[in-house]
C-alpha cells in the first residue's frame, strides 16, 4: 500500500469495492481517520498509513425510516443505525437481514459490501449495509 494512494472518500469506496474497509492512521499523532481524510483533524499532518478496520461491531443506535427521500421511497420502511466497529471507528448504514422488531441497541452486526448503486440519481459508488453477525 504505497503512499501515492490518496487518503480520500473516493479511495474508501475503491477499497470497499475490493471488500475491504480501510482507514488512514496518522503517522504523527496516531489518530485513525475513518473514513480517511487527507488532513489529520488532530495534528494537521498529511502523513498517513493505511490500516484495515474490522468489519464486526455493535449497534449504538437506530431508527426505522418510513418517510423517505425520493431515491429511497421504493424500499421504505427500512432500518438505519450507527455501528461502532471493534477498533472504535463508527459508520452509519442500513440494517438488513433481521426483522425490524428484532433490532436492538448493542446487537452484534457485520458489514456487508454490495455492488454499485443502480439508480441514476446517485453516484455509481459501491454500497454496504450491516447484517447480524
Amino acid at each position: 500500500m504505497s503512499e501515492q494512494v490518496p487518503f480520500t472518500i473516493e479511495q474508501f469506496c475503491k477499497w470497499a469495492s475490493q471488500g475491504k474497509m480501510m482507514g488512514g492512521k496518522c503517522k504523527k499523532c496516531g489518530k485513525i481517520q475513518f473514513p480517511p481524510r487527507p488532513l489529520c483533524d488532530n495534528c494537521l499532518s498529511q502523513e498517513f498509513e493505511w490500516t484495515e478496520i474490522p468489519t464486526k461491531g455493535k449497534l449504538l443506535t437506530y431508527t426505522v425510516i418510513h418517510v423517505a427521500p425520493t431515491q429511497f421511497q421504493s424500499i421504505a420502511p427500512y432500518a438505519v443505525g450507527i455501528v461502532q466497529f471493534e477498533n472504535g471507528s463508527k459508520l452509519p448504514g442500513m440494517i438488513k437481514g433481521v426483522s425490524l422488531e428484532q433490532i436492538k441497541i448493542g446487537m452484534p452486526l457485520t458489514m456487508q459490501f454490495e455492488a454499485c448503486a443502480t439508480t441514476g440519481q446517485w453516484p455509481q459508488w459501491p454500497r454496504y449495509h450491516f447484517k447480524p453477525s
Binding site: 431508527t63 423517505a68 427521500p69 431515491q71 452509519p92
Partner: protein, 390 residues
Amino acid sequence: MNGKPLVSIVSAGLSKFGKLEGLYTREIFALAAKEAYDRCPKLDPKKDIKALFVGHMGESYEHQGHTGATVADWAGLLHVPATRTEAACASSGAGLRAGIYAVLSGLCDTVMVGGVEKMTHRSTAEVTEYLAMASDYPFEQWNGITFPGLFALMATAHMNAYGTTEKDLAMVAVKNHYHGSMNPKAQIQKEITLEQALSSRVVAWPLKLYDCSLITDGASCVIITKSELARKYTDTPVHIIGSGQASDTIGLYERESFTSLRAAKIAAKQAYEMAAVKPEDVDLAEVHDCFTIAEIIAYEDLGFCKPGEGAKLVESGETRLGGRIPVNTSGGLKSKGHPVGATGTAQAYEMYLQLTGQADKRQVKDAEIGLAHNLGGSGATAAVHVYRRA
C-alpha cells in the same frame, strides 16, 4: 464582557407562517421586512439600513440562488450590501451573529438580519431530500438517512440511556401546540391531545408525525443597531447581551455522544459568559424543536436541567406558559412552523415581542431575560443568543 448590550433590536417582522400559495421567496421576505419598517417609523430603511444578511437554506426549492441580492431588492433595499448566510436550519441564527459582527466592527451602525424559506410547493419526498442535504452526503444521505432519521437516532439513544419514553416526547408536542394555539401567525393554531400525538403515524421510529416540525413557507427579520443609537429609533429596544456559535462534525456518527449536542453546549457557554447570565436567570426560551427530542436535549444542553432529566422537565410543566421557564411560547418549530432559513430570526422576533410586552395571550409576565437556541442540521451548527429587556 459583562452583560452589556452587544447590539440592540429596534424592530422586527414576521410573515404569516404556513402554506403561502402563490408567493415566491422574495415576496414572502418583503412581507416580514414591511412589518419591521412599520413597527419603527423613526427609522428610514433606505437611509439607515447599511447591510442585509439573509438566512436561506435551499436553492433547490425554487431553482433560485443568490438570495441576498434578490430579497434586498424586493425589500426595497436595492444596492445595500446583501449576503446570504447558510448554515442549514441555523442559517438566520448564524446570520444574526454575522449582523452582530458587522455592527460591532464599526463598519455598519444598523443592519437588517432575516431569513426566508419557501417549501410547501414541493412534495414531501422532495423536501425530505433537500433537507437531507444539510447532513453528510457520502455516508448519511447515501444510506437513506433523513432529518427525522437523524433525530430519531438521537431519540433512540436518549431513550436507551435515560429511559425517556415516546410519551415524554409527545408531551413536548402537546405543549408547543398549546402555545401555538395562541399565536395568530402560527401554521397550526390548534391544540392536540397526548393520545393524538402518540397514535400519529410513524415518520422515523420512534418519531411520529407529531414529533416533527412542519414544512412551512415564511420569513422573519430583525433590525439591529449599535446600542447607543437604539433610543433614536424606539423607546422599547431589546438588547442582545450574549452571542455564541459553534460547529461540530457534519456526520452525527462521528460524534462521541448522540444524546447531547456539543456545538449547542459550546455556543451556550459562550453566550452565557458574555451575558453574565446563568441558566437559572433565564425567564423564557425559544429552542430549536425541529423534533420533540431536540427540545428535550436542548433543555439539557442549555443547563435548564441535568443531563438525562429533560423528560422530567417537560412533565413538570415548568416549560409551559405560566411555568418557571416557558419554552417555545411562539409554538416553536412544531406548531408555529419551520421555514428553515427563517427560523433563527423568527426566534429573535418572539424574543422581541416577549421582551417588549407585545406577545398578547402568550405573554410571559415580567420577562426580563430570554434565550434563543438555533440548530443547523443534526447539530453541526448551533447559535445561541441571550436577550434582555431594555
